[in-house]
């Protein structure tokens, strides 16, 4: 049920992008990524929001010091391809488990990956 509702939102998000494509601004970008951001908020934020109280962020800060990834913030990275997000969600790493399709559906994962990859130049 939830998956179907979200798929609906993804579609309308894409339609919205099409309508606004002549003048792409911050608002339309935010609207386009709203579904992916919602998945992030529900499933990723408790471990990946800013600061060391979030174990995912703390782990990534520790793993990538003195680099563009030093913030540990996957929402801000500029080198995070969508395919990498998809792989991590479905395989897990360290103490982060893989997520099942009953938790994050394929459609939700596509939206999440697009959201997290929005700052990453395509082709990476």
């Amino acid at each position: 049920m939830r998956a179907r509702r979200l798929t609906g939102t993804v579609t309308s998000g894409l339609l919205l992008l099409g309508a606004a494509s002549r003048a792409v601004g911050a608002d339309s970008l935010a609207a386009r990524h709203a579904p992916g951001r919602a998945v992030y908020e529900k499933w990723c934020a408790p471990c990946h929001d800013p600061g060391i109280i979030h174990p995912g962020t703390h782990a990534l800060m520790t793993k990538y010091p003195n680099s563009t990834r030093a913030s540990g913030l996957i929402t801000a990275w500029t080198d995070l391809p969508a395919t990498y997000v998809t792989f991590m969600v479905r395989h897990g790493i360290s103490v982060m488990p893989a997520f099942r399709k009953t938790e994050i559906s394929d459609a939700e994962l596509a939206a999440l990956a697009a959201y997290l990859a929005r700052n990453t130049p395509t082709g990476r």
């Binding site: 174990p55 703390h58 520790t62 360290s94 488990p97 099942r100 399709k101």
Partner: protein, 549 residues
């Protein structure tokens, strides 16, 4: 395609077709790619042939669909293994106990049927997580607290059925004890309601636990006698205030009266918040501050102090005790917390101090006074679950930090129950540290303190790492089993364990020639004659698999 054990490919294909008809093709998973998502992320058999895996997965959305699935499984003798959210990492995750079973993934059954503020209860389905229930309560501005374990993404129902614990007030910390009323799909597909729920049009299903006649709820926890599809929980009315205090005592042997008085003040309800033991002198943190230590590192210690610790045996040496007295560092510190109206808290704290004052040199402090409510953001200043706020902060255990440069792949929880005495803490440390050292296990390497989730017994909850190295994992698995056995010899048993260790743990519960296990088997044969449900869970096997063993 994977096929469950003892099932022909043809029968499995027919069963799958019927499952698809019952719940929709998109919710029947059979590809390796989809089924790998059901692997236990913290499996102690990581990437080894013995890892327990699923042959299929089914994700129903309703109780009716669960009933249909159970009937089809009976028809074709398909072993099925229900999970709720599949997040009991360290205790088995989403993988079946009997490898090759078809996982019944109840995550989509995520309805919060009712949260009743007046009578302070919730009625939920298996897929509802602590985060879900917390958000629902916040959105609806209801003045009730949930009681959650450290990882907030687990199932409210699943955690209770696994007999997990939490951190608020004593009435709510034991999650199975705080449930009220169940709905269960029996292995033959019939629907059963327990307690007052057995009355059609029941008026008090979530207000009175036992109904009349034998109270059978317990047999549906840590077992395989039915698929629980609804469960009620008592919630705590939102308290007005919270206060955290400490009682610090100077000498090693003060541990004995400290625990004795703690038991008295808890059992008398002078205090009802989560009590927490620490040793400032031995550098052992209270449970509620483990996450803080993982985040910011352990407190600094002088070189002299660190050196003296190396010479301590079972946490003691005259030199370390003298150092503590000289430096003003308490041997033990007990954290007490109180919830309720301000004036009641002050009276409780006053009475508690009067009792603890009989320990010579006991020092008292009020560390925190919090006017409630606090929101999730404000709760991050504290150990969130003590405020009924779910989080995932506990995953700092094992995760990469500056103090843990080699993160683990997970952990298996070693969690024996021991008596609530200072003597038992010392004796358990002696027994387990000797055993762990001889087995090369990274447990009890320093003097270790238990947790106080339950009022009448202590529990150690210790993470044994799962690594990328199969040899090391093998050593830890075998050591883990040996520690279970050693505990059993001393009358201590685990409260819960991962499927890999369920046989070893249940073997400890062997009074009168394993009559308890034989009784479980008698129930199994009567309730689930085809043995379709969760074969092997807590070492309860259906007849056809028992005879093979």
């Amino acid at each position: 395609m994977r096929v469950p054990p003892n099932v022909s490919s043809a029968d499995y294909a027919r069963a799958l077709a019927e499952f698809e008809q019952a719940i929709g093709r998109e919710w029947v998973f059979t590809s390796d790619e989809d089924l790998d998502l059901y692997r236990d992320a913290f499996s102690p058999f990581l990437n080894e042939p013995e890892e327990r895996i699923a042959s299929g997965a089914l994700a129903p959305v309703s109780t009716e669909q669960v009933q249909q699935i159970v009937r089809i499984a009976n028809k074709y003798r398909i072993p099925i293994y229900p999970i709720s959210t599949g997040k009991n990492l360290g205790y088995g995750g989403s993988a079946p106990a009997y490898s090759g079973s078809v996982v019944l993934d109840l995550k989509r059954m995520n309805r919060i049927i009712e949260v009743n503020e007046q009578h302070a209860f919730a009625l939920v389905e298996p897929g509802v997580s602590y985060f879900d229930l917390y958000r629902y309560i916040q959105e609806h501005k209801l003045k009730v607290w949930i009681d959650c374990p450290d990882p907030g993404w687990g199932s409210v129902m699943g955690n209770a059925l696994d007999r997990g614990g939490g951190y608020t007030s004593a009435n709510y910390r034991n999650h199975f004890d705080s449930h009220c009323g169940m709905e269960i799909v029996l292995p033959n597909g019939e629907l059963l309601r327990t307690g007052m729920g057995a009355i059609p049009n029941a008026q008090t299903w979530q207000q009175y636990k036992s109904g009349c006649g034998p109270w059978i709820d317990g047999i549906f926890s840590q077992s395989n006698f039915g698929v629980v599809t609804k469960m009620g929980f008592w919630l705590m009315p939102e308290p007005e205030a919270y206060q955290r205090c400490t009682v610090s005592v100077p000498r090693y042997h003060d541990l004995m009266p400290l625990v004795e008085i703690l038991n008295f003040v808890e059992n008398s309800r002078i205090t009802s918040g989560f009590p927490d033991l620490e040793s400032p002198l031995l550098g052992y943190p209270p449970v509620g501050q483990i996450q803080l230590w993982n985040e910011t590192g352990p407190p600094k210690m002088s070189a002299e102090h660190a050196n003296l610790l190396k010479g301590a045996k079972l946490g003691y040496s005259p030199q370390i005790e003298a150092y503590g007295a000289r430096a003003g560092i308490p041997y033990w510190r007990l954290w007490l917390s109180f919830h309720g109206p301000e004036e009641v808290i002050q009276a409780q704290w006053h009475a508690a101090q009067r009792h603890f004052a009989r320990i010579q040199g006991a020092q008292f402090a009020v560390v925190e006074q919090v006017k409630l409510p606090v929101d999730a953001q404000q709760a991050t200043k504290y150990h969130e679950p003590e405020f009924g706020v779910p989080s995932l902060r506990a995953f700092s255990i094992g995760a990469r930090t500056p103090w843990n440069p080699t993160p683990s792949k997970g952990h298996m929880w070693f969690s024996p129950i021991i008596p609530r005495t200072g003597e038992a803490i010392i004796e358990a440390n002696r027994v387990f540290s000797e055993a762990a050292q001889s087995l090369g296990m990274p447990l009890f390497t320093t003097f270790t303190l238990p947790a106080c989730f339950w009022e009448r017994a202590f529990i150690f909850i210790l993470a044994t790492p799962v690594t990328e190295d199969p040899h090391l994992n093998k050593r830890y698995r075998e050591g883990f089993k040996k520690l279970i056995e050693v505990g059993g010899q001393h009358g201590w048993g685990e409260y819960r364990t991962a499927p890999v260790f369920q046989h070893a743990v249940m073997d400890v519960y062997s009074f009168n020639n394993h009559v308890l296990q034989r009784f479980h088997a008698t129930l199994k044969d009567a309730i689930d004659p085809n043995g379709i449900l969760s074969a092997g869970r807590y070492d309860i096997w259906p007849k056809h698999l028992r005879e093979k063993a």
